[in-house]
Symmetry: C2
């Protein structure tokens, strides 16, 4: 697989106009590309920095076809893109990373099946379609465990934890009786993530793994380097590379990993740039956003070497009000009008010389 | 002097839609600001990444008033903004850095008068308005010397060098008989520039001086750090700070300096972000563009410390065709459609660890 590079001045189409689309648009602009955002919601953050915005529904085949006609490549900023929209676009324009990555990432069962099939460890899991299967699965997997909807969950939404004595009925109700997966508890030392990229020529590159801290199911902080031995960090990078190659992927992927005493366990994959990679804009010559644009445009991957250690913290809701005063840090705000509690409004990255401790 | 900070979501108005306006717009977006570009020419590069573009002439008072009504602060990306446009805008909306800096920077005589008045060295110079004054000035200043138009010169345009035996008549013709200045030759070791900023609270910060290499009158390369002793670099920074304070300036300024055996001589000042500061986007946590936006929005200045050594090279005309292949560097392209010879199409920055040599 290989394809001709797009010339500067080409147009990158982005499905989804949130903050990830916005940061992709900024990176595309730095490479001289124009950007066309497709987003059903009004006033998308990415639209403020894009050359053009189409506001239309995901099932509007005419709007999708018009969009395809005006762009040179299509990518997406979120994994829950309607596959039917991809099926309209794909015959008309290259879609990268492509359909297969979405199929796998949209369904927690398909994702774990895929990962296990290529030899990677996941939490023990079972498909759940009612209280009967849940009770059977609880006997096999035990507690604590987590019931998650198969589709459309993010930032801890659509999840419930089960402990000894928890009611299967209540848990099933709390996920809205939606097709789900029961995941066994993984006894992990820490969670890390690898942001990796695969180019149109099949070459693979990865940023150094970061260590993640969540609060209330939402990423709070990523610290780089992660506190893992060099060999384990290399394992993580190789594992991400295997996923990319097996999916015949083009672009950037985020791979969340549990570090356990017996090795790395894949938590989940995101077929897109990833919140835990935002630190790269401050601590690498080429960041995850540019790496993704380079890949989908058929440019060789850039140098993602890390020049500094880094700590990225998300700004949720009213946190962002403090942003102007954060002078010793790199602030990035997403242009969202309404600062609802828990909403990701921006992030802030501090850097320090490599190995200086903190 | 001090003013309230603009909240994220405010709108920054930029006069001029070239690459500097584009890079200012990208920095403003990172801080959550909206951007409105005012530019008479069609399809300005900055327009591709701005929330809104007004295409109107500099003398269109109605369009200027409408623009002022829609923005929270106005800045400019080039020093030759028509002062009459500033006079329309200034009663309606804050204009930063403001009128005084433009007056000084638009006229080479006014600029040198100002610099000398605050105790800074310049080349010897004389105002020229015909062959008579030119011949008199040549006797006083000698050759080699350079005749430059007082106004509207840039990148070596509107300049002619005079050597022993050069014809005053021919030189006067070659600057179009426009009011000019004769500048004596400065015997310099190297040219450096300081990119400095002054906040709304009067605080001053500067990036480390860079060393510039020109080709055919156009900046070719900036290398950081400049090869000057630490004391000389500090002198350069203090000198830039003096200019900022004396102008009661808010924003980023570029100060080009000749390093001579007897000290620093100011070549020229640019009341805006500067080509010789483009390296800051790759080698500093906060770059010159963000620093400018922070200043004009009343935010405290950010940390411009340099984490890496850097070398920035301009991509002129067809140079930019090589951009996709420059993988060990940070490429920045300006989205210009037509790659005329000598036209600034982009730049590329390489970094290496501080003090590693190169």
């Amino acid at each position: 697989m290989s394809f001709d590079p797009l010339a500067p001045g080409s147009t990158v189409g982005i499905l989804g106009g949130g903050q990830l689309g916005r940061m992709l648009a900024l990176a595309a602009a730095r490479l001289g590309m124009k950007v066309h955002v497709y987003e059903p919601a009004p006033e998308p953050p990415a639209g403020q920095v894009a050359n053009k915005v189409t506001r239309a529904a995901w099932d509007d085949a005419d709007a999708l076809a018009d969009f395809a006609a005006g762009v040179d490549v299509v990518t997406y900023e979120f994994e829950n893109v309607d596959l039917a929209a991809i099926d309209v676009l794909a015959p008309l324009v290259p879609v990268r990373p492509g359909r297969r990555a979405l199929e796998v990432a949209q369904d927690r069962i398909a994702e774990k099946d895929f990962l296990n099939a290529i030899g990677l460890a996941t939490a023990p899991y079972a498909a759940i379609d009612g209280t009967d299967t849940l009770e059977t699965a609880l006997e096999a997997i035990g507690t604590p465990s987590i019931l998650k909807t198969r589709r459309l969950g993010y930032d801890g939404k659509g999840q419930v934890r089960l402990d000894a004595g928890s009611s299967a009925d209540a848990a099933w109700l709390s996920v809205g009786k939606a097709p789900s997966v029961l995941e066994g508890f993984v006894d992990f030392e820490r969670e890390i993530s690898v942001i990796a990229a695969r180019g149109g020529d099949g070459s693979v590159a990865a940023f150094d793994p970061g260590e993640n801290e969540h609060r209330d199911g939402i990423l709070h902080k990523t610290t780089v380097p992660a506190r893992v031995p060099a060999g384990r960090a290399q394992d993580a990078v190789l594992l991400a590379g295997k996923i990319l190659t097996e999916l015949d992927y083009v672009g950037v992927i985020g791979v969340e990993l549990f570090v356990t005493r017996s090795g790395l366990v894949v938590n989940e994959i995101a077929p897109r740039v990833h919140n835990s990679g935002h630190w790269t804009e401050a601590a690498c010559l080429i960041d995850q956003f540019e790496q993704h644009i380079r890949a989908i445009c058929g440019w060789p991957l850039g140098d993602g070497a890390r020049h500094s250690d880094a700590e990225m913290v998300n700004l949720l809701g009213s946190d962002a009000e403090a942003a102007p005063g954060l002078t010793g840090a790199r602030v990035h705000l997403y242009g969202k009008a309404e600062a609802r509690p828990g909403r990701k409004m921006g992030h802030v990255t501090r850097i320090r010389p490599r190995g200086a401790g903190g």
